[in-house]
Amino acid sequence: MRVILATSIMPFVEGGSTQIVGWLHRQLQAYGHEVEYFQFPISESYSEMLEQLLAMRLLDLSQHGERLIAVRTPSHLLKHPSKVVWFIHHYRSAYDLWGTKYQTLPGTAEGLAYRTAIVNSDNVALRESIRLFSNSAVVRDRLRAFNGVSAEVLYPPLLDPGRFSCGSYGDYLLYFARLTHHKRQWLAIEALRHTRTPVKLVIAGSPDPGVEPYVFDLERLVEKYDLKDRVSILPRWIPEDEKLGLFAECLAVAYFPFDEDSYGYPSLEAHAARKPVLTTSDAGGTNELVIDGENGRVTPADPELIAHAMDGLYDDRKLARRMGEAGEARVQKLGINWDNVMSRLLA
């Protein structure tokens, strides 16, 4: 099939959304489709938003391709007779962040007018699609609440889960994520000081631009609790082989972000390596994947309770193995694989 794949980007920034679309692009080609891939730079500044929305409406792709797949907002405003939208997030300032301290639109009559225009244009564009998917239940619920449209949840898989393997259930927990405050690596350190077992912790990942103070805080915390022998911090980009090794030998994967929309690739990577996921009940999308006691542990974001779960896995490696293996089954049960993504997006 001739497929047009469209998304928006913040130029020169790689993130979860660029991965979803980049991997989809590669898989569409691997499945034998001919793909045209458009990545539109979009300024997130609210005052430039409306002209960019109009630009999306004016660019005409309707004469080409048997399918348009639009992913990141506002690419879904493109017109096409066979448009499918895989919606991954709103322009959140106009939606769930409106009225919170994270709102970037001004709370004035002008700001409200921008908000209304953005919501209205989404309402039109989303209803034009022949099928609407979201990447998580959180986003599906927001689409229902704010735009009055129903979306089907279609979870994004890893590019190639087969690369991950399980070596052993070792003596360390792996926290593999960008180093940034809302990922809450500090909560893992706080928990470690309450464990009774000698379980270790490896924190690995690229620091977000400008978060040097955060990395410094993590290091200070380790020093303060005298955990230097048990905590390693690798604040850098981790090459693929090193990453696969870290996943292969860990006891379990820890992932405690605050209220994320989607489950986060570290959870999927954990299960691809047949490792359980330790997360918190306020982590957001991760709770769609992890069921407490089945494929990991879900505890309140409380250091002592997390520590208890850590010890439980350390004491009972068979339990860790059982949950890790159940994770693989859980991923398949949720249809998190490319066969499913292809058949849903191209149906």
Binding site: I4, F12, D60
Partner: protein, 345 residues
């Protein structure tokens, strides 16, 4: 530097401009810059769509970008304070094609209005660029004549050239590239009926429309040329192209009034093969010297056939011209060092 390369995109169509955009983006990264390629959909049917796309380009933004390098209409309308234009061609239907059979735009009030808008917008928005580079003297001259704008010549290099070589001077003329009306492969196929020698033609590239493919097939069948023309109607890889070049007798490249010298010409010379082209082929003449590195003949089947026959019967001549082409290509100093320096200075 953080650089955005801007180009048009007609979905599922790839040609020289797409190739150059990919190459430039890759080379900028190789030279240590952060580069992204921004491809902007373009569509010209019906003609009023052209105006919508011009407007869309004015409405797009390039956050975080320190420099923009734009190739084509209307991608070069995207606003940026530090924009360079490397003009491959303007919207020719409004300029030099107007009044020819390639005009495209209808000669109605609406068509004339659209043309007027294109010219006016070019006058205003092209002038925003800090520097306009052009890919050939032809493009530069048109820009000066129609819009009164000055430019600097910057020849586009090939991405990689190491894979072109000469193995032999075989029995076929090679014609690679996108196949459409303006590239005039049909004329080449018609010429084959007039050849007296058993010279063959290898025509390789993707047809732009089914009509292009059908017309060529029809001529082949009508003239009974099945044995002498190999029509490879698909995208060919760089490796395939280099292999065909390496054993070709010569290359034929006869577009109508092309803006640039054409990659095909350069590739042919790097493979030490002469180039047969036509006296109305435009920028190709910047590189082809008639009788020296190839043949420039009237755009007429008998003349093209005679040029092919001549080379078929005199392979030492084909070799001499091919060698001369190779020396010429080396002497032009068309390389990435120069391009990157010009675009990042």
């Amino acid at each position: 530097m953080r650089i955005a390369v801007l180009n048009n995109a007609v979905p599922f169509v790839r040609g020289g401009a797409e190739h150059l955009a990919d190459a430039l983006t890759a080379k900028l990264r190789e030279y240590g810059h952060s580069a992204i390629l921004v491809r902007i959909p373009f569509c010209w049917e019906p003609p009023t769509k052209i105006l919508e796309h011009m407007l869309a380009c004015r409405l797009l933004r390039l956050p975080e970008v320190e420099r923009a390098v734009a190739f084509k209409f209307p991608a070069y309308f995207v606003p940026h304070a530090n924009k360079l234009v490397w003009l491959l061609h303007q919207f020719r239907q409004a300029y030099d094609f107007w009044g020819t059979s390639f005009q495209g735009l209808p000669d109605t009030q609406e068509g004339r209005d659209v043309r007027e808008c294109i010219i006016r917008a070019d006058n205003v928005y092209l002038a925003e660029a800090k520097t306009i580079f052009t890919n050939s003297e032809v493009t530069a001259r048109r820009l000066k004549t129609f819009n009164g704008l000055d430019s600097e010549l910057l020849y586009p290099p090939l991405l990689e050239k190491g894979h072109f070589s000469c193995v032999d001077y075989g029995d076929y003329v090679f014609a690679p590239g996108r196949i459409n009306d303006v590239k005039r492969q049909r004329l080449l196929v018609e010429s084959m009926a007039f050849c007296r020698s058993p010279v063959r033609l290898v025509l390789a590239g993707r047809t732009e429309t089914k009509v292009d493919a059908d017309r060529i097939q029809a001529i082949i069948h009508a003239q009974g040329l099945e044995e002498r023309i190999e029509f490879v109607d698909r995208f060919i890889t760089e490796e395939e192209k280099a292999a065909w070049f390496s054993r070709a007798l010569a290359c034929a490249y006869i577009p109508y009034d092309e803006d640039s010298y054409g990659y095909v010409t350069l590739e042919s010379y790097l493979s030490r093969k002469p180039v047969i082209t036509c006296d109305d082929s435009g920028g190709i003449h910047e590189l082809v010297k008639d009788g020296g590195t190839g043949r420039i003949v009237p755009a007429e089947p008998r003349a093209i056939a005679a040029a092919m026959d001549e080379l078929y019967h005199d392979k030492p001549l084909a070799r001499r011209m091919g060698e001369a082409g190779h020396s010429l290509a080396q002497s032009l100093n068309i390389n990435w060092d120069r391009v990157i320096e010009a675009l990042t200075r």
